[in-house]
Assembly symmetry: C2
Homo-oligomer: 216 residues x 2
């Protein structure tokens, strides 16, 4: 039996989703300041850089128990470390890629994800032409092997990039296989569930918003 | 001088961003119904499928001037066509890829984007090792050539996947080159502007939300 440790995992405070989404902006901002040798930064300075209200920034950071000093602001190194810690980008999260078609293969090839803590260790597909091959050194298995492989690989996350009509079924298979979080890139909306964390990231929705705003 | 035409581009109604983001869900849903041979669908049925409130769905669709019939619902084929038309997925939008590193190259290779109307016609990079080469048949040019090439290629959109510390500068270069919309994949937040449509799509922010929810 593993000893009980009070790690970040056990202590993560509740932070509203819109606040969590803003945190990577702050991180990108303070990382840049740190590489420029800046030691302290105020929420006003971050606000000016990102066009987010300074009081909003202070509130978001207070969720993480990060507080600036009056007239000095936040210590840049400490703020950067606090954000990385909270966001979980420094820890390895093992993931499987569901569907290694165009987008799936592209995401498996994106080494950037591993810098944010996501390690895609294998892919799954129904296409006999790709099952048994590998991509960037990672094996592609048949969908039927999902349960066994997830256990063996100790994967927690499934990245879903299958054709939209298979998304619901594949999501269900992942949950049955013991997956704890679904990162869904299809335009199908996976319903919220108590058993798994779901992130519906339809990049095509962003595309739709952009097209619309272009033509206004 | 081009004749003035009353095309979709000139007539796009104002729709709030959260509504636009939901429309691709409805589209995925009705496309599936259409392939199953279903002729009519109610907002209640869509609601059940997507876990979005039925009155919300009816309201979102009314922005597009799509109205269901009492006791019958929406005609599936008409609804699908209306959504695709409004979302702009059937029109070609020419785009350039800024930065063909890991994520940039992956997005250029994702043929899925072209099915949603985005045609990436060229890439730009500062790395002499890739400038002058091509990717999936699309040329990679030096960043200095941006203005000339954007004009020549008639590109309207720039997809930004450069290192985060270069994002601000590259965005500015794109606007100067006459680009009308920026699709930003870096964690840097590009500030809203009157001149260009901006979509900040930080996939890493979604990752952060998912990690957080996993450990709750």
């Amino acid at each position: 039996m593993k000893p009980l440790r009070l790690t970040m995992e056990n202590q993560v405070p509740y932070v509203p989703e819109p606040a969590i989404r803003r945190l990577p902006w702050y991180l990108a901002c303070v990382t840049r300041l740190r590489t420029q040798g800046v030691e302290y930064v105020s929420s006003t300075a971050i606000s000016h850089e990102l066009n987010v209200d300074a009081s909003q920034i202070a509130k978001d950071l207070s969720y993480l128990n990060i507080k600036g000093k009056t007239r000095i602001g936040y210590e840049v190194v400490e703020l950067e470390r606090g954000l990385i810690d909270f966001l979980g980008f420094h820890r390895e999260h093992k993931a499987v890629m569901m569907g290694v078609g165009s987008l799936g293969a592209a995401l498996m090839a994106d080494s950037g994800l591993s810098r944010y803590g996501l390690n895609i260790v294998a892919g799954f597909d129904v296409n006999p032409a790709v099952v048994g091959t590998s991509l960037g050194g990672k094996p592609i298995y048949a969908l039927e092997e999902l349960s066994d492989r997830v256990r063996e690989l100790e994967a927690e996350i499934a990245v879903i990039a299958v054709p939209v009509e298979s998304a619901a079924e594949v999501a269900e298979l992942c949950v049955k296989a013991g997956i704890k979080a679904l990162w869904n890139f299809t335009p199908f909306r996976i319903k919220p569930s108590a058993d798994v964390a779901i992130s519906n990231t339809s990049i095509y929705a962003h595309l739709a918003v952009m097209y619309n705003r272009m033509h206004e």
